[in-house]
């Protein structure tokens, strides 16, 4: 049992609007019409396409494989034929098209051969590397490739595994419904994550506005062989942010320049855990997800849809949009963005679709100047100074904005929510962030260009010198032969001189053991020498030299 909960500063209580979409169970929608699969479903590198138009594929088959460390694979959500690979409208705030695979279903919905495994018998490293082809990304909306997060943490290892079922953003209920209806699947996924990471503790965090989900999770956890705690956190937006939830459950504030795995904590969304379970236990890759459809629609609810399904099909399933609908929001009202059209497909990050209407989202009141009331600073869960950030972003003083930790901002929108002057603060932060990122990229490109230019200038200089050297050599070529003869003679002379030197050195070497002797010994040596001198009278000079030396020493 969790003994106590901690707190984070800031946070707001926006109207929840969750009841609308929890009235009916999750409906599984069949494949309808052509499916469009954008390659950009996650942060990081675009995956590499493995199929061609005309190919027939089976449900779950790999269509594009992960490239580099941060990337995720894309699979066929149903069996059918690849129609095209080209730019299509995708759910992205830019509204710009991006490369997508279009699949024409054959209506059979036939799975590729699945090989369910008993993960308990498998090697951990092998399991983790096999995640690269699973296509699993964080299903909470951030869509970060999961294979990176399931690697045992560098060195220290993961001590606490946190499962995020907080779902704090208004309107969204897909995790709530998943926990109510498929708690066992989540728990089996948690068991696998537990097996891979080997944490000491395992906590599921759920906001206190989801009592049914909490009950279902408690029961499922009780049935598990692994000890999993269920902790109820107070409803306060944004408690579902991974770092906020970590602070709530463990009291640990993960420093902004570190990842939570650096302090031994890893956080997964509940839906990600079901995906992990399905992949390892059933062999199923990520081909569908649960989406909340709510707002200005006739029958709001949660739907499990194949990825690539157009939003229009979802709206239809929810009874169609009501009059006055003026657009779609993907994600929640706090952090989501408006979709460019209703034709865009469902992607792995699509947790919620809200049909907006003036009745739900009235036009924002006029913006007034900032009155420096600092309410935004009180509401900010990251303890930033939103009013300062706003000032710097507005005046495009980007260095200052960075200095004031603009990149720690999680774009939760608490500050905009409380601002009495109705300033769209987050829009300024998003603008400033992407401006800074673009500038950094330009700087990098400039540095590369400088390097390449310097390299080229150096190369040209070197080539010039080489050419000059060659010319000089050719000019000198005529004289070369006589010079050769001279060089030979010089060489011989040098060798002779060296030999001479060596000889002289040898001659100079004297026995050294006769130095540093006591006087008596010296006298004895002298006497012996005298005798030797007498004996070898033919060489008196040599004897004298020896004698002199001894006297000097």
């Amino acid at each position: 049992m969790i003994s106590r909960l901690f707190k984070f500063s800031g946070g707001v209580h926006p109207p929840e609007h969750k009841l609308e979409s929890t009235g009916q169970p999750i409906q599984v929608l069949p494949v309808s019409g052509t499916l469009v699969l954008p390659l950009r479903q996650h942060v990081g590198n675009l995956p590499k396409i493995l199929v061609q138009p005309g190919d027939h594929v089976l449900k779950g088959q790999l269509l594009a494989e992960a490239v580099g460390a941060i990337s995720a694979a894309v699979h066929a959500p149903t069996s059918g034929t690849i129609v095209s690979i080209e730019d299509q409208s995708i759910p992205h705030p830019s509204g710009l098209p991006d490369v997508s695979i279009t699949l024409n279903p054959d209506g059979e919905n036939r799975w590729m051969p699945l090989n369910p495994t008993d993960w308990r018998q498998r090697d951990r490293a092998e399991m983790i590397s096999s995640l690269r082809v699973s296509g699993i990304v964080g299903m909470g909306g951030a869509a970060f490739p999961t294979q990176i997060k399931l690697r045992p943490g560098g060195g220290s290892g993961i001590k606490t595994l946190i499962i995020n079922g907080a779902e704090c953003e208004p309107y969204i209920t897909c995790d709530d419904m998943l926990m109510r209806e498929r708690a066992d699947e989540i728990v089996r996924g948690i068991e696998i994550a537990h097996y891979l990471l080997g944490p000491e503790k395992c906590i599921v965090g759920i906001e206190d506005n989801k009592p049914e989900a909490e009950r279902a999770m408690r029961e499922a956890c009780a049935r598990s062989a692994v000890k999993i705690d269920v902790a109820v956190v107070p409803t306060l937006y944004p408690s579902g942010d991974a770092r906020r939830l970590t602070a709530l459950l463990t009291g640990i504030e993960v420093p902004s320049d570190k990842r939570s795995s650096d302090v031994g904590i890893q956080v997964f969304n509940v839906a990600t855990m079901t995906a992990v379970y399905r992949y390892f236990s059933l062999g199923e890759t990520v081909v569908s997800r649960i989406v909340t459809v709510t707002g200005n629609v006739a029958r709001p609810g949660n739907f499990e849809v194949p990825l690539g399904t157009p939003m229009t099909a979802l709206l239809e399933a929810a009874g169609g949009e009501l009059p006055n609908t003026n657009g779609l929001i993907m994600g929640g009202p706090m952090m989501g963005f408006s979709l460019p059209s209703m034709q865009v497909p469902v992607i792995k990050a699509t947790n919620c679709i809200i049909a907006s209407a003036p009745r739900l989202f009235p036009a924002p009141p006029p913006v007034l100047p900032c009155i420096r009331c600092a309410r935004c600073a009180d509401a900010c869960p990251v303890s930033l100074q939103p009013q300062e950030l706003y000032w710097f972003a507005k005046s495009q003083n980007l260095d200052k904005a960075r200095e004031y930790k603009l990149f720690d901002c999680i774009e939760c929108g608490c500050c905009s929510y409380v601002c009495p002057s109705n300033i769209p603060l987050v829009q300024y932060y998003r603008f400033a962030k992407s401006e800074i990122i673009a500038q950094d990229k330009a700087k990098e490109a400039a540095n590369l260009a400088r390097e390449r230019n310097e390299f080229r200038l150096e190369r040209i200089e070197r080539e010039k010198q080489e050419r000059a050297a060659k010319h000089a050599q050719r000019a000198a070529g005529a004289k070369a032969e006589s010079a050769d003869a001279d060089a030979d003679a010089a060489k011989k002379a040098a060798i002779a001189a060296a030999m001479e030197r060596a000889k002289a050195q040898k001659a100079e070497v004297q026995p050294k053991n006769t130095e540093d002797l006591s006087d008596a010994a010296k006298a004895e040596v002298a006497a012996i020498d005298v005798r030797r001198a007498e004996a070898t009278a033919a060489e008196p000079e040599a004897a004298n030299v020896v004698k002199e030396k001894q006297e000097n020493g």
Binding site: P93, L96, P424, Q427, F431, A449, R450, N453
Partner: protein
Amino acid sequence: MLTALLVMLGLALLLGIVLGYSALKFKVEGDPLVDKIDAILPQTQCGQCGYPGCKPYATAIAKGEADINQCPPGGDSGMRALADLLGVEPKPLNAEHGLPKPKSVAVIDENLCIGCTLCIQACPVDAILGAAKHMHTIIASECTGCELCVAPCPVDCISMEPIQESVANWKWRYPVYSLKQTA
């Protein structure tokens, strides 16, 4: 009195040694001002400033021989950064050196290219690949858009294409909304 003097003397000596040591140890190679200016310049190496490249222009600015408003690719923001660095008044870009254009990359029409290598010799950043008498290609990620390869091409097969906005390079816009009168 004496102790005070000694302490001050000791301190002076100590600090002198530290300063002298750090002057040797942390000696800055090259001309730091030229490098600082060069760091602001966009490294397009296009020569529109009237110098054979960004570094020579930076050197000329540092010597006071060139003005700060001669680099069109750097644009207004580049000029402002230079003004900031040098502590001078910003001034509008000098149109004589050309006007800022949207960033482009060179594209070779590979059907027309005769493989003369003239563009390779012109490219200041070695962004063109190819061998004599073989078709040439431009590495788009390395092309600075300097346009120096366009003129030398004898068959006019190089064109400059503005970089399109895509999901990968898209930026959030500066928020615009009308400031309404509240009575």
